[in-house]
Symmetry: C2
Subunit: 347 residues, 2 copies
Amino acid sequence: MTAKMREANGARARIEDVAEAAGVSIKTVSRVLNHEPNVRDETRQRVEQAVAELQYKPNLSARSLAGQRAYVIVLVYDNPSRNYLTEIQGGVLEACRARHFSLVLAPVDPDDRNYLPELVDLIDHSRADGVVLVPPLTDDARLLDALQERRLPFASISPRTPEGRFGVTLDERGAVRELMAHLIQLGHRRIGHIKGPPQHGAATWRHSGYREALKLADIPYDAALVVKGEFTFESGVEGARRLLDLPDPPTAIFAANDDMAAGVLRVAGERGLSVPRDLSVCGFDDTPLSRQIFPSLTTVRQPTNDMGRVATEELLKAIRDPESGDMVKMDYALQLRESTGPHRSRS
Amino acid sequence: MTAKMREANGARARIEDVAEAAGVSIKTVSRVLNHEPNVRDETRQRVEQAVAELQYKPNLSARSLAGQRAYVIVLVYDNPSRNYLTEIQGGVLEACRARHFSLVLAPVDPDDRNYLPELVDLIDHSRADGVVLVPPLTDDARLLDALQERRLPFASISPRTPEGRFGVTLDERGAVRELMAHLIQLGHRRIGHIKGPPQHGAATWRHSGYREALKLADIPYDAALVVKGEFTFESGVEGARRLLDLPDPPTAIFAANDDMAAGVLRVAGERGLSVPRDLSVCGFDDTPLSRQIFPSLTTVRQPTNDMGRVATEELLKAIRDPESGDMVKMDYALQLRESTGPHRSRS
DNA sequence: CTGTTAGCGCATTCAA
DNA sequence: TTGAATGCGCTAACAG
């Protein structure tokens, strides 16, 4: 059966049909498709024309089978923040598409202590060429061990210990120092902090930034002004209540993420406190929530989409050449909005 | 090379190795793996044991190549709501996993009028067995034509015209009637509405529900109380301003989704209106935002995750048997929260 | 610079 | 109820 007949039958063109149409061997077609060298320009063009005419699309299954590579990246995540994840996923997807890799999603239940067997099974089944790890899972030693054992390259997004790994980081401590400087410059000296859970690197960095900023401004650290949170709205509500019930309550509160900051705004609303007149509030992450809430939230923006994309690009580099793959430092940006204002002494 | 040697080399077990270990032919192994009939129980068990011992995982590429099917579902979406999408995607993924299909994500830029060629290219490349369509794209005639032309089965989530299609629907009109009945029962008679954009079926249904509820309560429809929105926070802000600037402003506002309702709350805040004392507000969707805002939002919950899952299950049914595939009606649930309260006449 | 050949691991005829 | 042989469409040595 000729290529033309196959086409009339609704069958798809194969590499063989392209070769025939272009008057070359299939190996030459393969070279053109994979951008390999050693093809004359004129030949390359003939092949490309045949590809276009026949609407040839390579069969990915055949390619994977023959090439012993699946062209698959697995994105592993247990981060409960929908917005963060969507952005990361978008960036990862862009990078995968650009290199003709497919993306396999591997959501992990953050409450499941024994998630590893099922996850590893998924990774094995998919025959992944590489993995992208999202925090806080990006710091789970058991998972890292399992990946290393399989010699599977993995990119890390905001890992706690970036040494010897590749992916992306962001200077969260520095960002918080700037955010705090903004509050301090507004006259605040009693600044409360609602921390994140200790297993998150982010919680640690943001707390350190808080302390460093106080020290830089010669404001003594007061442990009573720091309460624990879980990065959830509800824990922000609880934390805010504890802070505002203090005998000498803070005039500003830095919540370690936007969800918790929204909780603080709620408590302020309940108590008839006007923000920022009676209380300044800021968060971290610049989720859509921070703009949709009233007053809108002063916070820090991470380039989340870019972080997903860049991490994946580094991973793809490392897949091509195991020696490569860098840890790329990304930029943050303060978002000054309505929820922070000058300190007014209570009268 | 024997199976044992291969294993020692770190190579993966193949179906051939399983057959050898179980003392049967590869065809028998294939039968067991694919749950085909005509295998003796004792034989089946021997095979299953060999699979477990060798940790055999079928090579999906080889299966696809030989079986002429990719086992791929494509999820096509242009809906701008992050939360909605994440939930839908989660449900779709669950259903895919359960049947060992892989999921390919196909995000579409809602502002790109000419998205079709690229999307179709992605679908063709992936050799999809079926497609899941999210609103509002689920109603795009050009896309539906392209799919039908390819004889590709597709499941529709909340399509405008469910006739002759399969997937999931939800009685949004009924939900809005109930929501409105709640407001009316609280004493409100001047109820404003901020509509969604006309290309969304949801916008139309929610507006119809609004009108029907008024009619049922013998409240005349006042076109001045209905303003256009875009399902965005900003358009909610604008709409609320228009409504509240009316000579005789509404005492309650039903925004067609939560984001716009958040915009209404913002305007209320700006103007010193207390919600719900001076103004009742409700939305639709029950996004996390509706709980994280103050006051929390009365709204309608859709089982979004389930909708994604069930739609995909129907698709998988239709892939197995083109005659099957139903339109499943899902349940909604009113969420009565803080943003609605009794009408108080202005004094 | 280009072509030939031999599998990749599985499903699927058809025969037993 | 089971098995042997053929090919899915492509990559990758190796030859020219």
